[in-house]
Amino acid sequence: MIYSEKVMDHFAHPRNVGEIEDADGIGEVGNAKCGDIMKMYIKVNDGVITDVKFKTFGCGAAVATSSIATEMIKGKKLEEALKLTNKAVVEALDGLPPAKLHCSVLAEEAMKASISDYYKRQGIDPEPFVGKQSACDCENCDV
C-alpha cells in the first residue's frame, strides 16, 4: 500500500482539525470496531459553509480524506458541497490504495451527515437534499 504525496501531506498537516463549539451541524460516521470514526462540524451562514472542522479516529487515508473534504466544502454553498463525491475526494488526493477507498466514502458521508444535522436543526427534512444515510458495510460491523 503506497500513499500519494498528497495523501501524506494532508495526513501530516491536516487542514481544519478541531471542533466548532457553536457548530450549526455536526455529523459523525463510522465506528471504533471498523477502525474509523469521522466527526465533522459545520458553521452555515446564508446557505454557505463558512467554517468546517473535523476530528478523525482512523488510518492515514481516513485523516487525509477528512482533511481534503473539509477544504473542498469550505466556502461552498450547501447544494454545491452536497455534490462532492467520494470519487472527487480520491482524485483530489491523487488516488488511494484500493483497500482504502472506503475512507473516501466515509468522508463524503461525514460531510453529508453534518449537513443533514444542520437541516434537522433548522426543522427541515434533510432527505430530499442529502438522500438516505447508509450504514457501514465493513466486515467487522454489524451496525
Partner: protein
C-alpha cells in the same frame, strides 16, 4: 534530541548482516554454479550448501540431513502442516490442533485443510498470550495427526511451553510442528530436548536475506513434498538451490545463536525501559505476558488512537514500527492475535509493536520515548473516540502528559 532513524521493527524483518552478505556475495558472480552440476564450479556450490546445512542443523541441535532449505517461513509452515496432514489422512486421522494466534502461514494453511475435510482445533490463548501443554493434551484425540504451535508469537512475543507440548504430543504418538520463525536466535532451541518433530525457520528474521528458510524434519518422518521436480534437497524440495542465500543463512544463524543469553540481557534492559516509559502514557497496556516474552518485543495498546496513523506519524519522526503483523497491515482487519487475547476491536485497532534487537541503543529508546507521547497526544486530540472515552470515563486532560 535531534531527529534520528530508529528501526524498531525487527520482528517484521532485519537488516542483512555484513558478514552474511559478504559470505553470499561470491556465489552471485564468481561461484555461480548449479550445485547439481558435476564440474568444480558446481561442486564448490554443493559444498557451500552442505556447510550451511550443517550450520543450520547445529543452531537447533539437529543433524545436517534433517535440514531442508525452503523459500522462507511461509513455505516451511505450509510444507510441514500439509505434509503431516497427508500422512495423517493415510491413517484416517484428520484432526489437527493449533492455536488461535498462530501466524497466517499456519492459520490459513489450516483453513485450507478445513476445506479438504480436516477438523482443526484452535486452542484459545490465555489473556497473557500463552497456551499450556495441558490444553494440548485435553484436545488430543484418537484421530489427531498433528499439533502445530508456534515457539514464540510474532506480535506479542510470548514464548510457548514448547518442550512440554512436545512431550505431550509424543506421549500420545502425535507429530509436533512448531513455527520457530520468531524464536530462532532469540531463545535457545534444541529440537531433541524440546521434543520437536518439525520446525520452521526463516532467514530474514535473523539477519539473513528474505526468501530463504528451512524446515527441520526429524529423521524417519516421510513427509511428502510440497514442491515436486528435480532431485534437490534429497528429492524432497525441488528447485535449483538458492546458494547465496543459503550460505548467508548458515552464517547468520551461527551468529544468531551465539551468546543468546548475553545478547538477551542487553536487549531486555532496553526493552524494559521502553515498556516502562510507554506505560507512563495514560490508558495504555502491555499486551502479552511480561516475563515469558521475547527479549526484544514490546506490544502496547494505546486507547483512542488508530494504529496506522500512529505508525505513519512515527515514521515522519524516523521511527519504524508496526501495528499487528506486517503481513496484514494494509488490510482493515485488526490483529487476530490481539483479538485472541480478548481485546475489543477498538483497542486492537490502536496497538503498537516495537521490536528491538542487539543493534538498538539506549539512544534509540530515549528517542522513541521522547517522540511517542506528543504524537499520542496529538492523535488523541483529533480523535472523536478519545473525546468519547474522556467524557464517559472522566479521564481528565492532565492525565495525558
Amino acid at each position: 534530541m535531534k531527529k534520528r532513524f530508529v528501526y524498531a521493527d525487527n520482528a517484521a524483518t532485519t537488516k542483512v548482516s555484513q558478514k552474511a552478505l559478504n559470505a553470499a556475495l561470491p556465489y552471485f558472480t564468481e561461484l555461480y554454479g548449479n550445485p547439481s552440476s558435476i564440474y568444480s564450479l558446481g561442486m564448490n556450490c554443493a559444498k557451500a550448501v552442505l556447510k550451511a546445512r550443517e550450520q543450520v542443523a547445529d543452531a537447533i541441535g539437529a543433524k545436517a540431513n534433517e535440514i531442508y532449505f525452503t523459500s522462507g517461513g511461509s513455505e516451511s509452515d505450509n510444507w510441514a502442516i500439509r505434509g503431516c496432514a497427508k500422512l495423517g489422512e493415510k491413517k484416517g486421522k484428520k484432526h489437527i490442533i493449533t492455536t488461535a494466534f498462530e501466524h497466517h502461514a499456519v492459520l490459513h494453511t489450516c483453513r485450507y485443510l478445513e476445506s479438504l475435510g480436516f477438523e482443526i482445533t484452535y486452542l484459545p490463548i490465555s489473556n497473557k498470550g500463552i497456551v499450556t501443554a495441558r490444553q494440548v493434551e485435553e484436545a488430543i484425540r484418537e484421530d489427531t495427526c498433528l499439533v502445530t504451535i508456534m515457539t514464540a508469537n510474532n506480535e506479542i512475543g510470548t514464548i510457548q511451553p514448547v518442550a512440554e507440548i512436545g512431550e505431550v504430543c509424543h506421549k500420545h504418538g502425535v507429530l509436533f510442528h512448531t513455527d520457530a520463525v520468531q524464536a530462532v536466535g532469540n531463545i535457545e532451541i534444541d529440537v531433541n530436548k524440546m521434543n520437536i518433530d518439525l520446525l520452521s525457520l526463516s532467514g530474514h528474521k535473523i539477519h539473513a536475506p528474505k526468501g530463504i528458510g528451512a524446515l527441520y524434519i526429524r529423521t524417519g518422518i516421510a513427509l511428502p513434498n510440497l514442491i515436486y521436480g528435480g532431485a534437490q534437497e534429497r528429492n524432497r524440495r525441488a528447485g535449483t538451490e538458492n546458494v547465496p542465500s543459503i550460505v548467508a543463512l548458515g552464517v547468520a544463524i551461527t551468529d544468531a545463536v551465539k551468546d543468546i543469553t548475553a545478547k538477551n540481557e542487553k536487549v531486555r534492559k532496553l526493552r524494559d525501559k521502553l515498556i516502562d516509559g510507554i506505560l507512563k502514557i495514560p490508558e495504555t497496556r502491555l499486551n502479552g505476558d511480561r516475563e515469558q516474552r521475547l527479549a526484544g518485543n514490546v506490544n502496547v495498546s494505546i486507547r483512542g488512537i488508530e494504529g496506522e496513523s500512529l505508525l505513519l506519524t512515527l515514521d515522519l519522526e524516523g521511527v519504524a514500527a508496526s501495528s499487528g503483523s506486517a503481513c496484514t497491515s494494509g488490510s482493515l482487519d485488526p490483529s487476530h492475535v490481539l483479538l485472541a487475547l480478548g481485546l475489543p476491536h477498538e483497542i486492537a485497532h490502536g496497538s503498537l509493536r516495537l521490536t528491538i534487537n542487539e543493534e538498538n541503543t539506549e539512544e534509540d529508546i530515549d528517542y522513541i520515548l521522547q517522540v511517542l507521547p506528543p504524537i499520542v497526544k496529538r492523535l488523541r486530540s483529533m480523535s472523536p473516540l478519545w473525546e468519547r472515552i474522556c467524557k464517559t470515563e472522566n479521564i481528565h486532560d492532565y492525565t495525558l502528559d
